[in-house]
């Protein structure tokens, strides 16, 4: 049995992992909820964000510039992807949407591999994030600690956009009933574009923030995509609160299982998902109608 100190440490770490998963999953879920498109390129976009941070940090050394330039870059990528590809697929079956975004993901990953090579890139921790903070019994890396705050702020900003703006109205109406959106008299095409770009930005932002922690390489997004799926299955399809709560739950499952046996942490995540599918198929925050 692990010590209480370790369990508390892992619970805290689960919060850190969870907020990040929540950010990745919320990007996926607002696109899914509003446009009905399951974006299989989400993992590749996460990776692209990390590379954006790598490039800017390598040239300027400025984390803030990386975040800003990377953010603009991700918005551009999101707009381009929606205009060129995804827009053609709103009227097509879900399976086609999955296939085309899956293909786009392959192309993005392979293009990055072709340009940057398959080797791991390393992104330095920003100067204000170096060192360790002592939190009672727990020593925790400063950057990871700050990341919890930064990601929470981003999630809150996303909440404001979703619940306090007209775009948010469209998103939430879309989650409730896609047909209603047309009735609202909003420029739906533009709103869809904004939502898609916002979702891409969320994936990219997660990648940018995570870049200094993990090694950056072309295939890094794959596992995040799958984990984001698990988060959405747990939280409920297309639900923003579901993505946030599901993300936190997933982070805690991985981290707390690690206190007992690290090797089983991933397996446990999927086991919980399977159990939830039996007990509450629509997910914690999902509505019955949409499953």
């Amino acid at each position: 049995m692990p010590s209480t100190a370790l369990l508390l440490s892992q619970a805290f770490n689960g919060l850190a992992l969870g907020t990040l998963l929540a950010l990745v999953a919320s990007g996926l879920t607002i696109i899914l909820g509003t446009l009905g498109v399951l974006n299989f390129a989400h993992g590749a976009l996460f990776m692209l964000g990390a590379y954006a941070m790598y490039v800017v940090m390598a040239h300027t050394g400025s984390w803030l510039l990386g975040l800003l330039a990377g953010g603009v870059f991700m918005l551009v990528v999101g707009v381009a992807l929606e205009r060129v590809l995804v827009r053609l697929f709103y009227q097509r079956p879900h399976e086609d949407q999955i296939l085309v975004t899956f293909g786009a993901g392959i192309v993005i990953v392979e293009a990055v591999r072709a340009y940057f090579g398959g080797n791991t890139k390393s992104v330095p921790t920003p100067s204000w994030g170096q060192g360790i903070v002592r939190l009672g019994f727990l020593f925790y890396p400063t950057y990871r600690l700050e990341l919890i705050g930064i990601v929470a702020a981003l999630l809150f900003a996303l909440y404001l956009v979703l619940y306090r703006t007209s775009i948010g109205l469209v998103v939430r109406a879309g989650i409730e009933d896609a047909r209603m959106v047309g009735v609202l008299g909003i420029n739906v095409r533009r709103a869809f574009l904004a939502v898609f770009a916002l979702g891409v930005l969320a994936a990219g932002a997660a990648g940018m923030l995570y870049a200094p922690i993990v090694s950056v390489q072309p295939d890094m997004g794959g596992s995040f995509l799958v984990e984001a799926f698990v988060v959405i299955v747990i939280g409920g399809l297309g639900s923003y609160p579901g993505a946030v709560v599901g993300g936190l739950i997933a982070g805690e499952i991985v981290s707390l299982t690690s206190a007992f046996n690290t090797a089983y942490s991933e397996v446990m995540l999927y086991a919980v998902m399977a159990l939830l599918l039996v007990l509450r198929p629509q997910g914690l925050f999902g509505s019955e109608g949409r499953v």
Binding site: A5, G118, T120, T125, I132, F139, Y143, R144, I213, S258
Partner: protein
């Protein structure tokens, strides 16, 4: 420290002796020609693969993914050896080869990216065997690839000079008659390393392990724990992490909370670099000394001296061995001239194995695989001179008996140039580090 010095001087003495012995044992010419073996039944790609004026060697190595830096270096070692042997220049002569090529045949080769996936490696090597009639297959940077390709080699009766693979199983449970491994097994590496680190850090240490959840990881853990046990070292945490982990935070929290004095990091290559950097973020190195039982080719440079300084470990080979072994000197010079950087041990494995194979073929006087295998198995009586001095394959399990370099990383201040990352602490003789014959459970398969 006395004990350590003793090891060092012993190794030096041995190396010297072996070096002196070089001239005598080398040039036993092949007694048979392939023609004389026409009576033998065809086997594998023989004689179809030796019918022309060239032979084909299939090379697979991870050119993408986390081990790709090691994998690319590995391939360059092969390319250099093939070029030298085909040319028949001074280096080929120094190794003891005669004329151009091997038995007068030029070496052609194909290189395929294994993507670090055993299935892809097997697929590519099978293509080389079936399409190109490869007479020898080689190369890998993981034990999973090694074991898979060895199995293929045994089935198709094509000789396999295993590439970089440290797991005990490669010459243990999964050993094959057609597979030969030159890298020290985890057993050898840990047996060589344990007394030196115990000497350095003292007795009765508490140890935490970061164990990647694959065969090699578990091999190293078991071996290291077993060989440090006599010095009173105990395991306080064994943190097994799933494959392809990129965020080590939960694993590192377990280690940080373990109360250990020593942190043994068994992760490899990019993952070793990454876990070390994250470990520093979690303050692990304020409390613990890191040991890396098998240090990957570029781990020192990529991690940087700030985190690596004082870290003990073993390596298959290090360029500073050029001071001890003339063939290492020739290798380093030729490699630098061709590729503009200093070779790492991945390259040495490719380079050295290719030469040993060529020498064995010339000694056997034929490419006929059973004859080459028997020549390699009989090499104890007639060791090969190599970049690691005199080396020979143990007939029992096809493990190369070779010295094990134990190294320690320099601090930034100690480094004289960018290549001066490690110092060789000791060169532990192979006979001293090797496992007892039956220990790893090897049962070699049939010759035909």
């Amino acid at each position: 420290m006395n004990e350590s010095r003793e090891f060092l001087s012993l190794a030096r003495r041995r190396a010297l002796q072996l070096g002196l012995g070089t001239a005598g044992g080398l040039l036993v010419p092949g007694l048979f020609a392939d023609l004389a073996r026409a009576a033998e039944a065809p086997i594998g790609t023989w004689p179809a693969g030796v019918a022309g004026d060239s032979v084909f060697v299939g090379v697979t190595s991870p050119l993408t993914g986390p081990y790709s830096a090691d994998g690319k270096d590995h391939v360059k070692g092969y390319e250099l050896a093939f070029a030298e042997i085909n040319e028949g220049g001074a280096n080929a002569k120094a190794w003891g080869l005669k004329g151009k090529g091997v038995l007068g045949k030029q070496i052609k080769y194909g290189v395929a990216d294994s993507e670090l996936k055993p299935n892809v490696a097997v697929q590519a090597q099978t293509q080389f065997i079936q399409r190109d009639k490869a007479i020898m297959i080689t190369g890998c940077v993981s034990s999973a690839e090694a074991v898979a390709v060895e199995e293929l080699a045994q089935r198709d009766k094509v000789l396999n000079m295993v590439g970089a693979s440290g797991a005990n199983a490669t010459t243990g449970h999964d050993c094959q008659r057609y597979g030969f491994r030159s890298q020290p097994s985890a057993y050898m590496a840990c047996k060589a390393l344990a007394p030196i680190v115990a000497q350095h850090y003292g007795r009765g240490k508490k140890v935490a392990y970061l164990v990647p959840d694959y065969n090699y990881g578990h091999s190293v853990f078991r071996s290291f724990a077993a060989f440090t046990k006599p010095y009173g070292w105990t395991t306080v945490a064994k943190v097994v992490i799933p494959l392809a982990t990129s965020d080590y935070s939960s694993a590192l929290l377990n280690i940080a909370n373990s109360g250990a004095d020593i942190f043994v990091n068994i992760e490899f290559a990019a993952q070793a670099v990454n876990s070390t950097k994250q470990g520093a973020q979690f303050g692990i190195f304020k409390k613990m000394q890191m040991i890396v039982p098998n240090i990957s080719s570029f781990q020192g440079q990529e991690t940087g001296p700030a985190l690596m300084q004082g870290v003990f470990g073993t390596m298959d080979w290090y360029w500073k061995l050029e001071d001890r072994f003339p063939l290492s000197k020739r290798f380093v010079n030729a490699f630098r001239a061709k590729f503009r950087y200093t070779p790492a041990w991945g390259a040495n494995i490719g380079y050295m194995q290719t030469y040993i194979w060529a020498l064995a073929v010339e000694r056997a006087g034929t490419f006929y695989p059973p004859a080459v295998i028997k020549t390699l198995e009989a090499s104890k009586a007639n060791p090969f001179d190599s970049t690691l001095g005199k080396v020979w394959y143990r007939a029992y399990d096809h493990q190369l008996i070779r010295p094990v370099p134990v190294v320690v990383a320099n601090s930034a201040k100690q480094m004289k140039n960018k290549d001066d990352v490690f110092d060789i602490v000791d060169l532990v003789p192979g006979e001293q580090a090797i496992s007892p014959p039956a220990f790893l459970g090897c049962k070699l398969g049939p010759y035909t």
